[in-house]
């Protein structure tokens, strides 16, 4: 039994990372087992060749060397078995502890003296403990399977040692020896195949967990780089009119003012799902997918108003800004922190702190009502 889809979906970032880390370590163990098995297969192929081609004295010498090597392999198997046993025991102990804890909380629910608030908290706690038990049992199942592979491999290696030791005293016929070695070869090939299949299926599971993304409050920067340009004054497209006494007539003029290279920038905080491994924002997933056009539109309008220029929302470049928003803000509407205009030549920056939410809580709630994954993740269940 392992975590169900819903349970995995509800994991927080730390929990998911922990789960992925444990899975990765199991996958690493499987890979190292496969490498050892492939090595054994190569060695048996070499033994078959030796048995066919070498003279009796050379064969005996090669066998002694092989026995040394096999004993070393046996030590390695024993070491891996001990390690896996240890981790299994650890997981089982944890499950026992959690089961006791679960019983305690379930018993608390049966009593009459706990408050409504405590009752709700206890129910949450029970859900989290059950999820943890499922996760640990899943790991126990997979670890047990690995342990079984390791024990089989050790038994086969012992059988191989026995054959080589016997052949040192009295050799069977070549046919029998080759037959024994080929049966061993078949065994290792079969074992390698089953472990490869296991690795592939576990890789899919791991891939799925990687695809489960974490929810964060992120600072995004929306900016537009202006390489250079100029404005005509007056801005409304008309002319300044004045009387030139020398010429004796009215003059209609427009003034041209250049402005330097720089960028217009707004910093906005909003919720977004992110990759748990790389921390990168998932721009193709709600809520960010829905929020992005709204933020772009708002920022473009604000910049256009402040700087008296037309900025199409789609031309704004989206980036991640370095300030880390407060975790308490998670679940709130997008928050516009500041807008600024930077002059790249002089290094001067004109900055204005806006500090307003782009929409009210009710509007945001209505906007995100359909985003099931987002709403569920906001509950942030605890993990034991």
């Amino acid at each position: 039994m392992s975590l169900s889809y819903e349970e995995l979906e509800n994991l927080t970032y730390e929990e998911l990372l922990e789960e992925i880390k444990r899975e990765e370590s199991e996958q690493e163990d499987r890979r190292s087992l496969l490498t050892s098995i492939l090595l054994r297969r190569e060695e048996i192929l070499k033994s078959i060749q030796d048995e066919r081609l070498k003279k009796p004295e050379e064969r005996a010498k090669a066998r002694r060397e092989k026995l040394e090597q096999l004993r070393r392999t046996l030590v390695e198997w024993n070491r891996q078995i001990a390690r896996t046993n240890e981790s299994l025991k650890r997981l089982e102990r944890r499950v026992e502890e959690l089961e006791n804890l679960l019983a305690y909380h379930e018993a608390r629910l049966l009593t009459w003296f706990i408050s409504t608030f405590e009752r709700a908290y206890t129910r949450d706690r029970i859900r989290a403990i059950r999820r943890s038990i499922s996760a640990y049992r899943g790991h126990i199942t997979r670890r047990s399977r690995l342990l079984e592979h390791l024990r089989h491999s050790r038994a086969t290696t012992i059988a191989e040692i026995a054959s080589h030791t016997r052949w040192l005293r009295r050799e069977d016929t070549l046919l029998e020896r080759i037959k024994t070695l080929e049966s061993l070869l078949d065994y290792w090939i079969g074992r390698a195949r089953s472990i490869t299949e296991e690795i592939e299926s576990e890789a899919k599971r791991l891939e799925f967990k990687y695809s489960l993304i974490l929810l964060r409050r992120v600072s995004v920067a929306l900016y537009l780089i202006i390489e250079g340009g100029e404005h005509y004054y007056p801005r409304d497209g008309g002319y300044y009119t004045y009387y030139n006494p020398a010429k004796g007539k009215l003059r209609h003029v427009r003034q041209k003012v250049k402005y330097p290279k720089g960028r217009f920038q707004a910093i906005v905080e909003c919720d977004a799902f992110a990759d748990p491994r790389t921390g990168q924002i998932k721009t193709d997933t709600d809520p960010f997918l829905t929020l992005e056009p709204i933020i772009r539109q708002d920022v473009a309008e604000e910049l256009s108003e402040e700087f008296n220029m037309s900025i199409p929302p789609e031309t704004l470049t989206l980036g991640v800004a370095s300030p880390i928003p407060r975790e308490e803000e998670l679940g709130k509407p997008p928050f516009k922190v500041s807008i600024s205009r930077t002059d790249e030549e002089t290094g001067k920056e004109w900055k204005f702190r806006v500090e307003t939410y782009l929409m009210s809580d009710e509007e945001y709630e209505a906007l995100t009502r359909g985003m099931k994954a987002y709403r569920e993740r906001l509950r942030r269940p605890r993990y034991v």
Binding site: A221, Y223, L224, I225, I226, E227, G228, G229, E230, H231, Y232, R235, K256, Q265, I267, A274, R277, T278, G279, Q280, I281, T283, N308, M309, S310, T315, L316, T317, L318, G319, V320, A321, S322, P323, I324, S340, T342, G347, E349
Partner: protein, 125 residues
Amino acid sequence: MSKHIIQMDFDIYGHPDLSMDELLEFVRIEAKRIKHILGPRAGAAVIKRSINGFHLEFPFTAISEEERDWILEGSIVDSGYKWWIRERNLSTLRITPKTIIKEIGGEPVGVKRIEDTPKVIEVVE
């Protein structure tokens, strides 16, 4: 006091003597240096490839401004980039294509759109 993640931009223009592979090695060295300084607080380092260089990001770090300045002091990142971060007290790394506009009279006369989205190429655990 606000906390920040670490972001760095390495452009080939800032290191004209280096090839892209050599610059990538530089970025890896920088990632390891910061991980060494911050220890477990650093978290994973993400290296992204952009059109003319690399982005280095520590998305799970939370450091103060002083710590950031201290890390930047010994960094091999462009001096201009360092100066800008200190000056603005902010760093940004884009995640979408970049637009550069040249305007005359309030009308955009030249729009340069660099169709390049930085891609994650390496995660230094």
